[in-house]
Subunit: 254 residues, 2 copies
DNA sequence: CAGTGGTCTAGACCACAAC
DNA sequence: TTGTGGTCTAGACCACTGA
């Protein structure tokens, strides 16, 4: 039951923050002061602060101190679980989102990631087409989402799917209208995981912020998976919201 | 551009794991060996390993070594976005889940958490009823979900809502059938965040595993929020899946 | 019960950004 | 410019657990 010193100190700091002793935006005592007041080494104080950092509670800023992070305000995304269409092609969010590609799509051939391969129906490490896009706010240029599409090589090799510009309608229109693989069907899975350092860097995520992740598979009518889209975004900036309707079994009991 | 030593070592170890040099379940070289082979201090080697631990890639086990964690296999939950009903009351997952309460519900009065209070329509820190349940597998007794309900004090004080046993149908039937607040309406928001140490301990989460979170609000017909339910589960053990249907605007283009 | 990771220290120097 | 967090070391001892 004897917690290590850095954990006890972390617990005290956490309690102080939650009590309001250190409001959002304020700074904790500096590491040396923490070390002195708890009679521990500076390194140990830093481990305590790192604990809070991992929880997303504080963010150390050089030359300034350990800043208490504001309570996250999450932008609510709507997944109507329907696919819509306009002149630009399919989209999956009924509230048309204003994000744009911050960079031209990075198109490359590479090994299928371990978690994507089984969905795509290929062996892990097998070469696939990778279309990587960084989406963000058109005004602030701040990145919001990392969207990566994976397509089997035998399907995409030598086609316009492997070009940077897939034209209006994107890969789904290519697959459906020009390659005869439609009508497409889609399935989405929503989950969370920690970012890799590269993902954290590209999305400018501080430590202690997980990814929210939507993995969408596009299938032809025979059930063959044609594409897997892996979209990652800050778990602190976004959430998915939806109303609940009543099934007939749950008719009002009034 | 000069990354610190622990990051460079972490990157090399990560690459080695992804290359397959250390398969799932195998152990990395021990800290002293890592330290020697990269000519760094043991503490620095440990920081490198901690980096991988935060990503959920490895889990240090005493006396054994740093074990490479298996790729997560996520149990897919279905949220039909409909509420169903059987003789036991309302439930929100059409695939009736086999989880049971591992402990009697912990019912207490306490301050409304900062992120719950605005949803509940009370001031942060204002006293509310807190009903805390730990759900888990009935056979293995392993915890799977942490479900906490918050109810405004003025609503719950002195009622059966504040008792451990709310009877068949639970609080929703009490609110609807006996207290006349129905018919209830619900809204869910799905998100992710890092666990607190207490949450991590109760769900037996290793570091580097975020929470998947469903926050459900129950509202009366006037729009007053009667209850907020905050359900947290391992982001590594669960995901939410759903098929996509076509909106009329997206009629098949074949 | 021994060997692994876990914790802790004192001290040094680095590097970045706010002042 | 300089003060803050960031990194790193050498060494010591602890504590848990699986061989």
């Amino acid at each position: 039951m004897n917690a290590p010193a850095y954990r006890r100190v972390a617990a005290e700091l956490r309690a102080a923050i939650e009590r309001g002793d250190y409001p959002e935006g304020s700074v904790l005592p500096k590491l040396e002061e923490i070390a002195q007041s708890y009679s521990i080494a500076k390194q140990t104080a830093r481990e305590a602060v790192a604990e809070l950092e991992q929880e997303g509670l504080v963010e150390p800023v050089r030359r300034r101190g350990t800043v208490v992070r504001p309570a996250p305000v999450r932008q609510r995304l709507v997944r109507a679980r329907q696919v819509f269409r306009d002149e630009r092609g399919y989209y999956f969010d009924p509230a048309a989102q204003p994000w744009v590609a911050l960079e031209p799509p990075a198109v490359s051939w590479g090994p299928a990631p371990r978690d994507i391969a089984p969905l795509l129906g290929v062996h892990p490490g097998e070469e696939v087409l990778i279309r990587d896009r960084l989406m963000g706010d058109p005004n602030t240029r701040r990145p919001t989402q990392l969207a990566t599409s994976y397509l089997p090589a035998h399907l995409a090799r030598g086609t316009r799917l492997a070009e940077a510009d897939t034209g209006p309608g994107g890969i789904y229109d290519l697959l459906e209208l020009q390659m005869g693989h439609g009508p497409l069907e889609w399935f989405e899975a929503l989950g969370a995981r920690m970012p890799s350092p590269r993902e954290a860097e590209r999305l400018a995520l501080p430590r202690g912020v997980p990814l929210l992740r939507v993995v969408r598979t596009a299938t032809n009518p025979a059930g063959t998976v044609l594409e897997v889209n892996d979209t990652r975004m800050s778990g602190e900036a976004f959430e998915f919201g939806y109303p609940i309707t009543r099934h007939p079994s749950a008719a009002s009991q009034q």
